[in-house]
């Protein structure tokens, strides 16, 4: 199986899984399908000679972010979307934003397709590629050191924000005569 075939296979999995993510109502399945999609993207990264990104994709996205999603879904025991509405109204006849949004998505697709096919064919990828972890690390900690620091501040802020937002309101002490 050549790497060409693998591209089409992984691409198909990614698209199929992503479609399924937005195509059904159970959030748990959505999360799991998205992980499958990420797995396929990770494969694509390997095809692009970026094994480090591929592994990081699994560790960070699948191993951390998606676990967080799964956690929240389980914690809230997230209800399926209200189904009576779906049964009553055909998807194409739904209220403003939904219909409009889908139309916009289609328009965006058309535009992107147009933009990408408009230019010349770029041909295959060149030979040289940077896949060494050391090279990436060196660049990350020298050329991008400022960005790196800013990102770390962002993470810190997000962490504090998440803790504050998700914290349960401190319960008011009950009055003594009222058990």
């Amino acid at each position: 199986m050549g790497s060409d075939t693998l591209f089409y296979l992984f691409g198909a999995i990614a698209i199929g899984a992503s479609l399924a993510v937005i195509g059904q109502r159970n959030p748990i399945y959505s999360v799991l399908l998205l992980i499958a999609s990420f797995g396929a993207l990770s494969g694509l990264y390997i095809l692009l000679d970026a094994p480090f990104v591929a592994v990081i994709q699994i560790i960070v996205y699948a191993g951390a972010i998606m676990v967080l999603f799964l956690f929240v879904v389980m914690l809230l025991n997230a209800p399926h979307e209200e189904t009576e509405y779906d049964e009553r109204v055909h998807p194409l006849l739904r209220s403003g934003p939904t219909r409009f949004g889908v139309a916009l998505a289609v328009a965006l697709m058309v535009e992107l397709w147009w933009a990408l096919t408009k230019g010349r064919e770029t041909g295959g990828f060149p030979e040289g590629s940077v896949s060494s972890v050391a090279a990436i690390g060196r660049s990350l900690f020298t050329d991008y050191s400022f960005q790196f620091e800013v990102t770390s501040v962002l993470i810190l802020v997000a962490m504090v924000g998440a803790v504050v937002l998700a914290r349960r309101e401190p319960r008011r002490p009950r009055s003594p005569g009222n058990p």
Binding site: I28, L32, P51, F52, V55, I58, G63, V67, L70, F71
Partner: protein, 341 residues
């Protein structure tokens, strides 16, 4: 097909079978060691000295009825044990367990005793370890039972928490070896200091080793960190509702995970297949011995230490182990920078 490819396929199948049987050996060993520690007999009826006991267990499990709670999510309920078992097997794929060999001249070019040689192997191990959370979480959620759910949540929280220390311990080794490839890391530990002390990272990274082992025990949900399946509180945790072969898969995954953690520890800290007396082609004997020693340690721990309390576990993970691991990594980095190892 070249002989090399055939050898590779045979090797892969061989590793698979060996992992399966290692689980059986581990079950037997666990019961025997426990019995010895508690001054009992342990299994002795089936086969000589009860050695066929694991086989009997497997047969018993296979013939049991596959039960599924009515309110469970059928698909995920079936998927969860598969994820667990697959992740357990997959991680071992990148673990090398012997030097390159031509099998006494059978092959034209030397074959590395490793299913897949990836140059970011250490990260792959880490990635797959992080994927194994899903099996546990999904099992807990899909069973639709409060014990299972609590077990699943505990397991995932615990695994995520200890993954950080685990990762930092890995990082301190790879900083020293200057490579992400497990084979390179092992080869970095070849030879001895002063002709006596082997150049294992264990001696440069004792703290890293301790952190790795502690986090490894927590990652595999073994005693004294076996909260997800704390019998007294949660019946059996995330696999309460499982029976027959799906239960067997969880069981299998637990033992194979232990073997993987031990094998990775051997490669990272104990010099892998390097050892005195034996020729390089028999290095795997050393490898098996070292893995066996760590596994024995695992079993010993389980039957010696009482279980912690859950909050103690989390506090230990975040407030003790993680800072130690982080400081160790910093110190290692400073040392590497200063001494230019």
């Amino acid at each position: 097909m070249s002989a090399f490819l055939i050898a590779q396929i045979v090797l892969t199948l061989f590793v698979f079978v060996m992992l399966l049987s290692s689980a059986a050996v581990m079950v037997y060993a666990e019961r025997k060691v426990a019995a010895i520690l508690q001054q009992r007999m342990g299994p002795y009826l089936v086969g000589p000295k009860g050695m066929l006991q694991p086989l009997a267990d497997v047969i018993k499990l296979m013939f049991k009825e596959e039960l599924r709670p009515r309110a469970a999510d059928a698909f995920l309920f079936a998927l969860a044990p598969m994820i667990s078992a697959t992740a357990a097997f997959a991680a071992f794929a990148v673990v090398p367990f012997g030097a390159e060999t031509t099998f006494f001249g059978l092959l034209n070019e030397p074959l590395r005793l490793q299913v897949a040689d990836v140059n970011v192997a250490i990260l792959v191990v880490f990635a797959i370890a992080s994927m194994s959370v899903y099996g546990v979480v999904l099992a807990g959620w899909s069973s639709n039972s409060k014990y299972s759910l609590l077990g699943g949540l505990r397991a995932s929280a615990q695994m995520i928490s200890y993954e950080l220390s685990y990762g930092l311990a890995l990082a301190s080794v790879l900083v020293m070896a200057n490579s992400l490839s497990l084979s390179d890391i092992v080869n970095h530990q070849a030879g001895t200091w002063f002709g006596v002390v082997p150049r294992w990272f264990l001696f440069i990274q004792p703290v890293g080793f301790l952190v790795y082992m502690t986090a490894g025990i927590a990652e595999t949900n073994r005693a004294p960190f076996d909260f997800p399946e704390a019998e007294q509180e949660l019946v059996a945790g995330y696999h309460t509702e499982y029976s027959s072969m799906s239960f067997a898969m969880f069981f299998l995954a637990e033992y194979i995970n232990m073997v993987t953690v031990s094998a990775v520890a051997t490669d990272l800290f104990l010099g892998g297949w390097h050892g005195p007396f034996l020729p390089a082609s028999l290095g795997w004997v050393w490898f098996l011995l070292k893995v066996g020693a760590i596994l024995f340690f695992y079993i010993w721990m389980r039957w010696t230490l009482p279980r912690y309390r859950y909050d103690q576990l989390m506090r230990f993970g975040w407030k003790v182990l993680l800072p130690i691991a982080a400081v160790n990594l910093l110190a290692t980095a400073a040392g590497v920078l200063y001494f230019g190892i």
